[in-house]
């Protein structure tokens, strides 16, 4: 078992889709929402995923395929600018 902290960003057309619910059913991954904010134009959810590392990887790949932007939750971009 391992855990990953990720941030999902939803464009307006994805906000109504139960992506996190579906992810928890399609994959052997436990989802635990820690922070979230959704408004009319965009929404984001910070969550912890627990499970087998490869299964988590597959679940994130699926999330990307359905149009969710997936980023590391705690760091933003690691490559640093000004």
């Amino acid at each position: 078992m391992t855990s990953r902290r990720v941030r999902f960003t939803f464009e307006p057309d994805k906000i109504q889709q139960p992506v996190i619910y579906e992810l928890g059913h399609k994959f052997e991954v436990i989802t635990n929402i820690r922070m979230a904010d959704v408004d009319n134009s965009v929404g984001w959810v910070v969550l912890e995923l627990e499970g087998d590392a490869e299964e988590i990887g597959r679940s994130l790949e699926w999330a990307r395929e359905v149009g969710v932007r997936v980023d590391d939750a705690t760091l933003g971009d690691v490559v640093e600018g000004s």
């Binding site: 902290r5 960003t9 464009e11 820690r34 922070m35 904010d37 959704v38 408004d39 134009s41 965009v42 929404g43 984001w44 910070v46 912890e48 932007r69 980023d71 590391d72 939750a73 705690t74 760091l75 933003g76 971009d77 690691v78 490559v79 640093e80 600018g81 000004s82």
Partner: protein, 420 residues
Amino acid sequence: MSFETALRCRECGREYPLDPIFSCEFCFGPLEVAYDYAAIRGSMTRESIMAGPPTLWRYADLLPCDPDFRVDLGTGFTPLVRADRLAARLGLDRLWLKNDTVNPTWSFKDRVVSVAIARARQFGFDAMACASTGNLANSVAAHSSAAGMEAFVFIPSDLEQGKVVGSNVYDPTLVMVDGSYDDVNRLCTELSADRNWAFVNINVRPYYAEGSRTLAFEVAEQLGWRAPDHIVAPLASGSLYTKIWKGLKEFADIGLIDEPHTRMSGAQATGCSPIAKAYFDGTLNFVPQKPDTIAKSLAIGNPADGYYALKQMEETDGGAEMATDAEIVEGVKLLAETEGIFAETAGGVTIACLKRMVESGHIRKDEETVAFITGAGLKTIEAVQGELTEPLHIAPNAQEFDEAFAARSSALAGATAGGA
């Protein structure tokens, strides 16, 4: 003396010991250094600061590290230049430029790395690491060399030559990573998880980020112990922009300046503008972007402090602007031609956005404004090559010079007449 007391979650306020950690275990919010301001108030005065060295270490009481561990290349206390010629061109009464191009590795990153490496040495790390769009790479490599520490420096493989050589000359383990920007981010996040390195913008980030506050301390001191009406700073992760405001408020809290009423505005390139776009859309929730701009040092598509930057715009009645690549080049040239400062593309972004903000009325003519020029132009000569007036090319005799000069003068006069 150092007066840091704990790390505190910016979201939920939980406190943690002063360890090499960066996010809250409960809400995943970012950790920030907390200080004993009452003690600092008793220790730090205008006089004690002015008696200090002409570097950022004159503010050591407000830095989260033991200054005995510092690696001092002479960073900070850079010029605050009165920019009358540029002000006149833009239509401002009073404009100042904080010229951070003159730091030891020619960018403001020397400020944050100075603090990060001191704290890393205090923690007992013997290797530094970073993932960088160039300026940070230069600074980490240089400071690590000066400290005799190993350095691991990761950069995207399409960086400007000046920034690649400007890191490699210090002989770090320099890694040029092929792949998309997201790939580089993913790789470095993975590597940081299980290496015993002080990864400056990851596990020592809370300390590292505090170094940017010295820009605000210096501006306030150099203006005669007061804050300006308006500040324009470049936005990448949003850290620099938020720390400048934090620094001004801290100076007021410890009684060194009056309460600041500075309007804080940020500058982005149109090709990487998640924060500016969210500002114009009227939301605090930015949408991450895939960067595509010549301003590579600002090419942060998923800014860690983007939300806080947007909150700060609200809080200070500030704002944001964005500039196209063509405007960025014009900004670099305008700054060089009017004030004699050759900035990298980030400086072009700042000047181009400043120009837009004045034109739109966001910055009023009578607001005393400070713009931050954060890196030197020799790092990004590719951006302006081919955009400048061609030099006269002659054989070594006076007649050729006279003829070439006359030909160019008449061509310029013709162009001016044609344009009038």
